[in-house]
């Protein structure tokens, strides 16, 4: 397992926090411990795959409140919530708000392993997607206005002839632009190009 994966623990109970950190370290995670929601929010987060293990019951800002706040300010780190009592309404609320898992204390080791692994995978996936999109955007920027028009239309599945009539240009010109788009975007087929357009959220 990669040692550059971070698990953040937010729990007001120092002993629990440290024990949890200890266990996670023994599982080869990088661990950052925070005593409160605000401590976590003001911490400098490393640019690496990460997840957050969060205690629900804390003085001041509760775990649920922190989770809501993170959603609002677009911190999309996967959250695992911990609670002392299996409060069903609370867990439903947490899951609805996008928590990866809801663990009841005392936490079963396997549950923790599974939950953290899932959360990390989600974050890695998210980060990969993010990297991918950033790359696509950079490439997309290289396209000329005409090439962008052609890309959108090709991505929707139009034949060269249809694209030509749509743009009132010659089919040969379309062919040329299309080749250029495929090369710049690094797409090998129209289908790949269509997926890229979708990821870039560009429409005609």
């Amino acid at each position: 397992m990669s040692s550059s994966v971070f698990v953040h623990v937010v729990d007001d109970d120092q002993a629990v926090r440290e024990s949890l950190g200890d266990l996670l370290r023994s599982m080869d995670y990088q661990v950052m411990l925070h005593g409160s929601a605000s401590e976590f929010l003001s911490a400098e987060l490393p640019d690496a795959p990460a997840c957050l293990v969060l205690d629900v019951r804390m003085p001041g800002t509760s775990g649920l409140e922190l989770q809501e706040y993170m959603t609002r300010i677009n911190i999309s780190m996967p959250v695992i919530l911990m609670t002392g009592f299996g409060d069903i309404p609370m867990s439903v609320k947490a899951m609805k708000a996008g928590a990866v898992d809801f663990l009841t204390k005392p936490i079963r080791e396997q549950d923790l392993i599974d939950a953290v692994a899932t959360a990390v995978r989600i974050d890695q996936g998210r980060r990969n997607d993010l990297v991918h999109i950033i790359r696509l955007r950079e490439r997309y920027k290289l396209l000329t206005p005409r090439e962008r028009q052609v890309m959108v239309l090709v991505a929707t599945g139009l034949m060269n002839k249809q694209v030509a009539s749509e743009l009132s240009i010659r089919e040969a010109t379309v062919k040329m632009h299309r080749g250029s788009v495929m090369r710049k975007m690094g797409a090998r087929s129209a289908a790949t190009l269509a997926r890229m357009a979708e990821a870039l959220n560009i429409q005609r």
């Binding site: 002993a15 200890d22 370290r25 023994s26 001041g60 002392g84 936490i107």
Partner: protein, 565 residues
């Protein structure tokens, strides 16, 4: 008495024959009078004597009509018993039955005021009997004589006849005797009735008060007791005096040794006796009684215990009901907070438990690594121990919480209770560099409550105040504890100059599990509020005008419990 009667006869010189006749007739008359006395004397009531007197006077004199009026003056009655019912102070009986008795003014004056015997002729309109069922004849002869006792006129005997010769001087003197004798009887029946009435009141009073009086002879061990005592001890009224064995047989067996000891101690010390015990009736029902008494010398010269026994069964039942209700309330409060408490307990136990399990698992993992990491494993193991200790502390804390769950209501001097807590927290106050200012009401404010629980509330509030001030570095740290009484309540204020409370948090403060403290249980204020509620008071918080917070609770004062110094 007969000698007196004879003395009234005029001394006449008569011949032997007429003397013999006269003697025979006098004997006859004396017999008649004696019989009349007997009849009258058998009457037990005021009215009975009056009726008998009238009947005998009519029959002796041969008069057809008459009446007896007993004065309203009430002097005789007053002598017997001042509180004797008034309506009986005037009594009138007549033959034939008449609506009213009204003496003509001149007769009234002579008879009532001057105590003279009056005989006179009158027309039917002059009759003292008003609206009789049978009208009087045209012309009547009236005899009216006062009923005198100890020089006071207590009434009037009135006779009337249509025949002029009815009231001979002899007849008049005989009837006078009858009347004066009757007056004596009036007094005695009067006294008798008053006595009976008084006794009835006492019996009734004892019944209402469920209280009986007794005298117990410490030598003969026999008791004399009032009727209510007989009821309380379920003893038949014909058992008189009551032997000690009968008395003992009614004592609840478990209570007998204590009672005998208390009696023995009181007898030997001649000290006032006071003891509560239970009595068992023959049908198995149980009464609670309170006996008090003191020793004195009885009529026989024996030492006697004289006193009162009160049936306090109902009071005991009421007391028990009150205690039950309070315990029930306490239980209800306990149950109500149990859910909240359970959540807290789960949390408090769960935290270290979670730590223990995770640290132990980490420890195993460090040891299972290749190569092993004994340093990390050791740290994990130490965490296990540390968390185990913490769990133990929580359990110890819970035990004391469970112990405090039963409320014991007593009279609590609230100021004393507060001062004790302040003394207890003196070091904490000093250590936190807090200045304490007290303004306690100088009167003795007594509330009915559980002292320990009330002190717990004060302790909690003062502790919170100190913590709130430790959390700030601004301004002076001033703790003000004050109490004052108003409108049957005492209000206690604990004010601090600490961090204060955000208004949005003000009511949540009293919810269980809500805490602003890192190490708090979140139970303190919710329990405080419940304790105060159980005592019939209120607990609330308000922001200080400058900074800090003021917690106030009120408690109802025990009625008439404010005693000024």
């Amino acid at each position: 008495m007969y000698g007196r009667v004879v003395g009234y006869f005029p001394a006449l010189i008569e011949d032997e024959r007429s003397l013999a006749m006269r003697l025979e007739s006098e004997t006859h008359e004396l017999e008649a009078i004696a019989k009349a006395f007997q009849i009258i004397s058998k009457e037990m009531s005021y009215e009975g004597v009056a009726r008998a007197l009238l009947k005998e006077a009519l029959s002796y004199s041969g008069a057809a009509r008459g009446g007896v009026l007993l004065s309203k003056g009430g002097e005789l009655l007053a002598k017997a018993d001042a509180s004797f019912p008034r309506e009986r102070a005037e009594f009138f009986t007549s033959h034939p039955v008449a609506g009213e008795f009204r003496l003509p003014a001149d007769i009234s004056e002579r008879v009532l005021a001057r105590q003279e015997t009056v005989v006179r002729q009158a027309s039917s309109r002059g009759s003292a009997l008003i609206d009789p069922v049978e009208p009087p004849p045209q012309s009547i002869t009236q005899l009216c004589l006062p009923l005198v006792h100890q020089e006071r006129t207590i009434g009037v005997l009135y006779l009337e006849s249509e025949r002029r010769e009815t009231f001979t001087s002899r007849c008049i003197s005989m009837i006078s005797m009858l009347a004066s004798q009757a007056a004596v009887f009036f007094e005695s029946t009067q006294l008798f009735e008053a006595l009976r009435e008084t006794n009835l009141w006492m019996v009734k009073g004892q019944q209402i008060g469920r209280m009986g009086s007794y005298r117990w002879n410490t030598r003969t061990l026999l008791s004399r007791a009032s009727r209510e005592c007989y009821r309380i001890f379920d003893v038949d009224l014909d058992v008189n005096p009551v032997p000690f064995e009968v008395f003992k047989s009614r004592i609840y067996p478990d209570d007998l040794p204590d009672l005998e000891q208390a009696l023995a101690e009181a007898v030997s010390a001649k000290s006032p006796f006071s003891h509560e015990y239970r009595v068992v009736h023959r049908n198995g029902s149980i009464l609670h009684v309170a006996a008090v008494g003191q020793f004195d010398l009885g009529p026989t010269g024996d030492v006697e215990l004289e006193g009162i026994i009160t049936d306090i069964t109902e009071r005991k039942a009421a007391e028990q009901a009150l205690t039950d209700a309070r315990n029930e309330l306490a239980r209800a409060v306990r149950l109500a907070s149990l859910g909240e408490l359970a959540g807290s307990i789960v949390h408090e136990i769960n935290q270290p438990l979670t730590g223990i399990i995770m640290s132990a698992e980490a420890c195993l993992r460090w040891l299972a690594r290749e190569p092993t990491e004994p340093g990390e494993a050791r740290k994990s193991a130490l965490r296990v121990i540390e968390q185990g200790r913490r769990a133990r502390d929580v359990v110890t804390g819970l035990r004391s919480l469970a112990r405090a769950a039963q409320l014991k209501f007593t009279d609590v001097q609230i100021n004393d209770a507060i001062e004790e807590i302040l003394l207890l927290l003196k070091r904490d106050i000093e250590r936190a560099d807090v200045t304490l200012r007290t303004a306690l009401d100088r009167s003795k404010l007594i509330v009915e409550g559980d002292r320990v629980q009330l002190q717990q509330v004060v302790h909690n509030l003062v502790r919170n105040a100190i913590d709130a001030m430790i959390a700030t570095n601004e301004g002076p740290r001033l703790l003000t504890v004050s109490s004052k009484a108003a409108e049957g309540h005492v209000s206690v204020e604990i004010a601090d100059t600490g961090i204060g409370i955000a208004s949005t948090n003000r009511e949540r403060l009293f919810d269980a599990l809500y805490t602003t403290k890192g190490d708090g249980l979140g139970l303190g204020l919710s329990i405080c509020r419940k304790i105060i509620a159980v005592h019939g008071g209120r607990l609330w918080v308000e922001e200080n005008t400058a900074h800090g917070a003021t917690f106030t609770f009120t408690l109802p004062l025990r009625p008439s419990a404010t005693v000024s110094n």
